[in-house]
Each structure stands twice: as structure tokens, then as C-alpha cells.
């Protein structure tokens, strides 16, 4: 029976962790929309949202409430079930990616060691790729089911852009995997704790990954699927109410998760640099870890926004050219050079 009791503890622990992480990522996404508007306002020298609550802090809640209470419209020519499935799939996929991210070290609750990670699967980063690809289906299904030419064009753009940049993204990560030798995100972080971060070994790999992450999240300069001067509004133009909200939300959650992945893969995850000795109070190290990871994530999210409000959008052929003819060869070369130097180093600089 002791085994059973342990199971129940594990199950409850995971349930609580899942609930916390999902609601935390929703909260982060909610306030990222607010941060985006504030950052845009600062960059454009205007006050930004400042009416709802102190400094406009209640603005995202008001927006969310407004979205829920809006009228649901399913156009008569649309494919009803696929129309509902599209945003649902996009949002579910966005909420699933956070499962393999290590948010911190280990804390002790009621005498049990609790890992601050939902699932430490050994394929880690491949899982993230698989789930992110599912998000493309959400956009594609939604755009097609709308039965609107603009939506369909935007969905096709989004899909072909996402899959094009996924190739370069996968290739840039292979070079990183050569350095780490593991796909598990926790292992990758633990290798970096107390050592140099992977960014030192893989600066070019990180740059490629970052550019691809911008494209995967449909962020400027890669926001072709939402080019409103060409496509009215984008793949979600027939959507209203919470279904529209889910498309917008999933985009912000994807931005949050890709920032987390970048911080984890290249910038040491929850590792605080130059602090090697463990903090004396138990549990403190894990909490400091979470704070450090969040600080890195906020930095990346700010970078995403800074780029959005600074750089204009590409033309479509430029986007595809950059993805296929520049990023993929560059990532391949990066992979081969990395492999060559690691093998050379392993053989004590002999062949």
C-alpha cells in the first residue's frame, strides 16, 4: 500500500504543478499584452493604457472580460465544427508546450522531493517541436474553416512560414545537442549550472534559433499572416469573442514559452551566474532559480517587443528567401563546424 500512497502523492503533486503552471502562463500572457502596449507607448512617446486601475494595471483583465462577454459569430458559410476546433487546438497546443520546461530546482514539500517540472521526458526538446507543430494546425484549420479568402491566404502564409522556419530551427538546435549530448531540458540546464552557458559555445546557433522563434511566433518582422494592409486582419478575421481571444492569447503564450526555451537552452535556465555556493535556507535556491529564470524570460519578451515596434515587416518572397536560402545553409554549416571542433577537441586536437 505504500507504493499506492506514493502514487497518489505524485499524482496530486503533478496536478497542483500543472494547475499552477497553466494559470501562471495564462497570467503571464495576459500581462504580456499589457506590457506590449506599454512598451509600444514608451517607444512612441505616449502614455499607453492608463485608465483601468493604477497605471492601467487592470487593463488586461478588462480586455479579457470584454472578450468573453462579446457575441459569438459563426459565419453561415463557415465550417462550424472546424471553426470552433481551430482556436481550441491553437490554445491547447500553446498550453501543452510548458510541460517539459524545468522551472527551477527541487523543493521539499512534506518530506517529498518535488521537481519544479511537469514531466522530465528524455526527448525534451523534440516534444516541444512536436507540440509547436500542432499549433500550426490550429491556424490552418481556423483559416480554412472561415471560408473567407483573406483568412485562407493568411492561414496558408502562416503555415508555410512556420514550417519553413521550423527546418532552420531544428538544424540550429542539432548543433546545441552536439554540445550537450542530451535532449532532456533538465539535463541541459544542469550542465550549465556552475559552468559557462551554451550561448558561449553556440552564438550563431542562438541567433538562428532566435530569428526562427520570431517567425514561429508570427512576430514582426515576420508577421505576414497578420499583414492588415494586405489581408484585412489575418487568419482570425472571422473570429469574435473568446475564440478570437484564444488566437491572440496563444500567440502571447507561444512568445512566453519560446522565451523560456531560449533561456533554458542557451542562457542557463534557472542558473544564477557567479553564485556557486548553495544558499543555506532549504527551498531558497529553488525560489531564487524561478526568479532568475523569469528575469531572463522577461528580458527576451522585452526584446521581442522592442523588435516589433522598431523593425518593419518583410515582403513575402524576402521572408521565404531568408528562411530557405540563408537560414538553412547557415544552420547546416554551424552544425558541421560545431561537430568538427568537438571531435577535434575530444581527440586532443589530433585527427
Amino acid at each position: 500500500m505504500t507504493i499506492l500512497a506514493l502514487d497518489w502523492f505524485l499524482l496530486i503533486e503533478k496536478l497542483i504543478l500543472i494547475a499552477i503552471i497553466i494559470f501562471a502562463s495564462l497570467g503571464v500572457a495576459l500581462y504580456t499584452t499589457f506590457a506590449e502596449r506599454k512598451v509600444a507607448a514608451i517607444l512612441q512617446d505616449r502614455p499607453g493604457p492608463n485608465r483601468a486601475g493604477p497605471f492601467g494595471l487592470l487593463q488586461p483583465l478588462a480586455d479579457g472580460l470584454k472578450l468573453i462577454t462579446k457575441e459569438e459569430i459563426i459565419p453561415t458559410h463557415a465550417n462550424k465544427w472546424l471553426f470552433i476546433l481551430g482556436p481550441g487546438l491553437a490554445m491547447t497546443a500553446a498550453l501543452m508546450t510548458c510541460a517539459v520546461v524545468p522551472w527551477g530546482g527541487t523543493i521539499e514539500v512534506l518530506g517529498h522531493q518535488v521537481d519544479l517540472q511537469i514531466a522530465d521526458v528524455n526527448i525534451g526538446i523534440l516534444y516541444v517541436f512536436a507540440v509547436v507543430s500542432m499549433g500550426v494546425y490550429g491556424v490552418m484549420i481556423g483559416g480554412w474553416a472561415s471560408n473567407n479568402k483573406f483568412s485562407l491566404m493568411a492561414a496558408l502564409r502562416a503555415a508555410s512560414q512556420a514550417i519553413s522556419y521550423e527546418l532552420a530551427m531544428g538544424l540550429s538546435l542539432i548543433a546545441l545537442l552536439m554540445v550537450t549530448g542530451s535532449l532532456s531540458l533538465r539535463t541541459i540546464v544542469e550542465q550549465q549550472v556552475g559552468h559557462v552557458w551554451n550561448i558561449v559555445y553556440q552564438p550563431l546557433g542562438f541567433l538562428i534559433f532566435f530569428i526562427c522563434a520570431l517567425a514561429e511566433c508570427n512576430r514582426t518582422p515576420f508577421d505576414l499572416p497578420e499583414a492588415e494592409n494586405e489581408l484585412n486582419f489575418g487568419y482570425h478575421q472571422e473570429y469574435s469573442s473568446m475564440k478570437l481571444g484564444f488566437y491572440l492569447f496563444s500567440e502571447y503564450i507561444n512568445m512566453f514559452i519560446s522565451s523560456t526555451i531560449m533561456a533554458t537552452m542557451f542562457f542557463g535556465g534557472y542558473d544564477l551566474p557567479f553564485v556557486t555556493s548553495h544558499l543555506s535556507i532549504p527551498g531558497t535556491a529553488a525560489i531564487v532559480g524561478i526568479v532568475v529564470l523569469m528575469a531572463k524570460v522577461v528580458m527576451f519578451i522585452f526584446l521581442f517587443m522592442w523588435i516589433r515596434w522598431t523593425i518593419p515587416r518583410f515582403r513575402y518572397d524576402q521572408l521565404m528567401d531568408l528562411g530557405w536560402k540563408k537560414m538553412i545553409p547557415l544552420a547546416l554549416a554551424n552544425m558541421l563546424v560545431t561537430g568538427f571542433f568537438i571531435l577535434w577537441h575530444q581527440n586532443n586536437w589530433h585527427f
Binding site: 504543478l17 473567407n148 475564440k243 484564444f246 518572397d317
Partner: protein, 132 residues
Amino acid sequence: MTWLTLLLDVQDTSAASYLPIAIQLIFAAGFVAAMIGMSALVGPKRQTKDKLETFTSGITTHGDARQPMAIKYFLVAILFVLFDVEVIFFYPYAVNFRSLGWAGFVEVLMFVGFFLIGFTYIIKKGALTWED
């Protein structure tokens, strides 16, 4: 009690680490379904024929979107499938390449060579040219 024993069996294998992901899938899908359902209940319903028309910025719609689109997108999708399979082949190599040594590296160089031949071929064929 069968599902309990199932839970215990799962624990013994490496599949145990995927159990939380299954729980999260149920949680996330449930949350999404609940929110969509709730907004359907809460929102007003004053739908008219004009409101449910396809939106094209006030211009009368011509036909629907169920018609062929540019072949380029299809080409990109097919090429993605081809190249993504090749990229996936690099993953097991990247995890094991230290033990494979120089022999493995030369073999991967050959593989990359084949990859590049195909890549050059599709570029020469103009499969990735977007302006006519």
C-alpha cells in the same frame, strides 16, 4: 481497481514520465472547452443574416474560399516534409556523435552532401522562387 494497477504498471516503465503530460492534456483541453463554452453562454445573441455574411470589408463577396490556391504553398509543404525527415535523421547522430568519432563524421558529411544536392536541385528548379 484495474485502472489503479494500470497506473502502477505505467510507473515501472519509461512511459511513466509521460503520464503528467497526459494529465496536462486533459487539463488544458478541458480549460479551453470550458472557456469557449462559457463565452458562448455569456455573450449576447442578436444575429442577423448580414452579420453572418463572410467579411470582406463591405465589398460583396464573390464565390467562396473553396478554390485552388497558389501551387507554391503546396510545394513548400512537400519540400518541408522531405527536408524535415532529413533533419530528424540528424538528431540521433547529434546525441551519439562523440562515440561515433571521425568515421561517423565523414558519413554525416556524405549525408549533408546528398542533402545539399537535393537542396540545390530544388533551388535551380525554381521551387522557392516567389516573384515571377
